[in-house]
Subunit: 431 residues, 2 copies
C-alpha cells in the first residue's frame, strides 16, 4: 500500500520541529517569566463539554470520536477532539477549583482539531498557545498581556501593531446613535473594515437594518481613533464611559514599560464580541500581509457555563501556525539550532571503528552532540553523510591517529584539519 | 452542567506538567546528544495506515474518528488516532524517503491513544518516547541504544537492569530441541517466566503441545544465563550461532563505556517476537515493583508493509507514564523547577501598586520569573497568595520604600527582610 496522511494534517521533519520548538520555547519562556503556570488537558473531551460552546458552525467542525472500548459495543460518538484551549481551560478551572489559588494564571501550548475543509494555510490539526488569568477583574492584567504580546514579537523579530478596543466603547457608540438593538449588526459590519473598506461597511450596515443616515455618521466617527474624541462622544453613555475609564487604567499600567511595538487604540476592532465583554486585542504583522497573528480579550464570566459563576477571565492567544509562516517569509529563524550534531567520527576498519566509538562515548559524556558513521567504509561516503546531515566537523580515526592516540579533526567548510588528543578534541568542541 | 473528562484521560496541573517536562527533557537531551533528530507525526492517521498493524487485539483498540468535514455528509470513520509511534514512523520514512539520509536516526515524544478499558495506571491517552535508527544493520546501534537506556536512567536516578536477548538465540534453542514448529508456543510460555515461574512455564509449554520431556529440558537450560553455555548448546544451529555472534559484536561495542546500571544477557526475554528479528531489550527498575519501564529491539524490515523493502531498523521506547510513577515512588523529582516564581510584588494603594508594577517590568526584563498581586489590598492576603503559589520572596512597596525609591524584600521562609534599590534587588534575585 502507498501510505498517505489525512488532508489537513502534516508530518514535521527535523528542521520543521526545531523551528517550531524554537517558536514555542520563546512564547513559553515569556509566559513563565510573567508568572503563568503550564497546564495540559486531554485531547479527548466528552462531547457534552464541547457541543454548544462554539456556535452552530463550531458544532459542525467538531471531530467526533467513537467510544468503543475493547469488548464493548460501539455506540454513537460520546467524545470529541479538543476544538480550542479556552473551553477545556474553563472546564479545568471548574473541576479543579478547590486545588487552585485565584487569580490563577495559566498557559497552554497544545494542538487543537477542527473538521474544516483543508486549504493552503488552514489545517485540521494545529497548535494554539494561550495564556489566561481567571479570578480577577484587574485591568493590570490587560496591560500585562499587551506587554507579553510586545515582548514575544520583539524576541521573535516580527514588527507588529497591537490594537486594543473595548466592547463597552462599541456598546456606547451604538447607544449614543440610538441603535443599541442593532449592536451585533453594527459590529459585524465594522469587523470587515479592513476587507471591504468604509463604503462596504456602510453598505453592510444599511443591509442589516441601520438607517443610511446613521450608517454614514458611524463611518465618519469610526475613521477617528483618538481616545479623547470618544471620551467626548460617549459623555452621555454610562457604558461608554466605563469603557473609556477601563482603557485609561489599561494605559496607565501600560506606561510602566516602553514597548518595542506600537500599541494603539482601534475603535474598528470588533472581533470575538460573542464572548468578550471588556478589552479586545488583536495583533497584526506590519511588514507582511497575513491577517491576525494574535488576539484576545476579557470574559466577564469564563466558567459560568460549567456551573461556577463570578469568575472573570482575560486571555490572549498566539496564532502559532501563522507566526511560523511570517517567520519563514521574513527569514527570522536561526540557521543553526543547538540540536545540531557537531562532529561525526569516521573510521576505515573494525579496530579503528571501535577506537572511534570509544572516543565518541567520552565526547558524548561531555554533553557534545555527536555521532559516528555506523560502519567502517569509504571516506567519501562518510563525508557525504556528514554534509547531508549538516555536520560541520569530522573526526578521522586513521592508522597514524590510532598509533598516536589522536584524531584528525577536519572542518568540512574550510577544509582545515588538525590532530588532537581526545581531551583536546573535547575542549575544542565544547567551545 | 457538571463537567467531567472521559475515563482514562487526565488533566495535568502545573506541578505535574513541570515534572513531566523534566522527565521528557532529560530523555530528549540524551537523544539529541546521541545524534537523533526530532520528528512529529499527526494525531490523525488514515485508518488504512493503522488497521492490521497491531494484530486483531490492536484493531479493536483503535480510536476511530468520524471524517465529517463541514458541509459534507458524515460517513463511516476513515481516520484513527495514532496508536503508537512506530507505525507512523515507518509511514513517515516511506513518504519522505527522498528527503531523508540513511541511516536516519529519529526520536519522537508524543501521545498515543488506545481504546483500552481504563484502570489504575492504564490510560487511554499516554505519552511514548521512542528513538529508532532506520537504514542500517550495524549492531553498533544496539550498543548505542543500551547506552542511552543506561544514561537516561542514571540521569533520572532510577537504578535499573537492562536485559538483552536475541531472537536468533531463541530460534536456535527451538531448533536444537527439534521444536522449531512450536517456536511461538515456546516463546509465549517463556515470556511469562517472571509471572508464573519455571513450573508454570513448563506446564504452559506442555499445554501448547511441547512434550513433557522437551519442556523439562528447556526449563533446565533456560535457568542458565551464561552466554558461553549457549555458545556450546547452539553449536549446530546456524541461526543460533548468528545470534551468539550478534551478541558478541554488541558486547564488543558496549565495552566502549562503563555503564552505571547492569546490562545482562537474558535468554528468558521473549517480548515482541511478532516483529523483532534480532536483539531484544527490556528495562526493569531494580528497587521498585513495576514491570517493564523500557523496551525495544531490531526489525529486519521496518517499512516493507508500506512498500519500501530492505530497511532494517532498531529502536527503543521509554515507558514515560510508568517511569513517572517510579520517580514519584522513589521521590526522584526535583522539589523546585526553574518555572518557579521567585518574587511577588505587593502594594497597598494605587500609587504604590503602579510603582511596583513599573519595577516588575524591569525585573522581568532581566529574565526573572516574577509576579505582582493584581490589586493593592491587605498584606496578609497578598502573603497568602505568595505562599499558596510557593513563591519564596515578596517585595513590599510601602510608603517609605516609595520615598526612598526602594523595595523591602522579605524571605517568607526565614522572615528575614532587607531594603534594596531596584537594581540591587535585581542582582540579588538573579543569583
Amino acid at each position: 500500500m502507498k501510505p498517505s496522511i489525512p488532508k489537513g494534517t502534516r508530518d514535521f521533519g527535523p528542521k520543521e520541529v526545531q523551528k517550531r520548538n524554537y517558536l514555542f520555547s520563546i512564547i513559553r519562556e515569556v509566559f513563565i517569566r510573567f508568572g503563568y503556570q503550564p497546564i495540559e488537558t486531554p485531547t479527548l473531551e466528552n462531547l457534552s463539554t464541547l457541543t454548544g460552546k462554539y456556535g452552530e458552525e463550531g458544532d459542525k467542525l467538531l471531530f467526533k470520536v467513537l467510544t468503543n472500548v475493547s469488548g464493548e459495543e460501539s455506540g454513537p460518538a460520546k467524545r470529541g477532539l479538543r476544538y480550542d484551549l479556552t473551553v477545556p481551560f474553563a472546564r479545568f478551572v471548574v473541576m479543579h477549583q478547590n486545588e487552585l489559588h485565584f487569580p490563577f494564571k495559566r498557559f497552554q501550548i497544545q494542538p487543537v482539531w477542527r473538521a474544516d475543509r483543508p486549504q493552503k494555510g488552514r489545517y485540521q490539526e494545529f497548535y494554539q498557545c494561550d495564556a489566561d488569568i481567571v479570578g480577577s477583574p484587574s485591568l493590570m492584567y490587560e496591560a500585562e498581556l499587551a506587554q507579553i504580546f510586545d515582548l514575544v514579537f520583539a524576541k521573535l523579530g516580527i514588527p507588529v501593531c497591537i490594537e486594543v478596543n473595548n466592547r463597552k466603547i462599541l456598546s456606547g457608540i451604538a447607544e449614543v446613535f440610538g441603535i443599541s438593538s442593532h449592536f451585533t449588526a453594527m459590529t459585524m459590519a465594522i469587523d470587515k473594515w479592513d476587507k471591504i473598506g468604509p463604503d462596504g461597511v456602510a453598505k453592510e450596515m444599511i443591509q442589516r437594518g441601520i438607517s443610511e443616515e446613521i450608517a454614514g455618521k458611524l463611518i465618519d466617527v469610526l475613521g477617528n481613533n483618538d481616545l479623547e474624541f470618544y471620551r467626548n462622544l460617549l459623555e452621555k453613555s454610562e457604558t461608554g464611559q466605563l469603557g473609556i475609564n477601563e482603557l485609561d487604567t489599561f494605559w496607565r499600567y501600560l506606561s510602566a514599560f516602553n514597548p518595542t511595538n506600537k500599541i494603539i487604540f482601534s475603535p474598528l476592532l470588533a472581533r470575538g464580541l460573542g464572548y468578550y465583554t471588556g478589552c479586545i486585542f488583536e495583533v497584526k504583522a506590519t511588514t507582511v500581509e497575513m491577517g491576525s497573528i494574535g488576539g484576545g480579550g476579557r470574559y466577564a464570566n469564563l466558567t459560568e457555563i460549567f456551573g461556577l459563576p463570578n469568575m472573570p477571565g482575560v486571555g490572549i492567544s498566539f496564532g502559532a501556525e501563522r507566526i511560523y509562516d511570517v517567520m519563514e517569509t521574513l527569514q527570522l529563524f536561526p540557521t543553526q539550532f543547538s540540536e545540531r550534531i557537531k562532529v561525526l567520527f569516521v573510521a576505515f576498519d573494525e579496530p579503528s571503528h571501535l577506537y572511534a566509538f570509544k572516543a565518541l562515548a567520552k565526547v558524548r559524556e561531555n554533553g557534545i552532540c555527536s555521532d559516528i558513521y555506523p560502519d567502517p567504509t569509504k571516506l567519501k561516503k562518510q563525508i557525504k553523510y556528514a554534509s547531508d546531515n549538516n555536520i560541520p566537523f569530522i573526526a578521522i580515526a586513521g592508522e597514524t591517529e590510532m598509533e598516536n592516540n589522536q584524531f584528525m579533526l577536519k572542518n568540512l567548510d574550510t577544509g582545515e584539519q588538525k590532530s588532537y588528543a581526545l581531551d583536546e578534541l573535547i575542549s575544542f568542541l565544547k567551545n
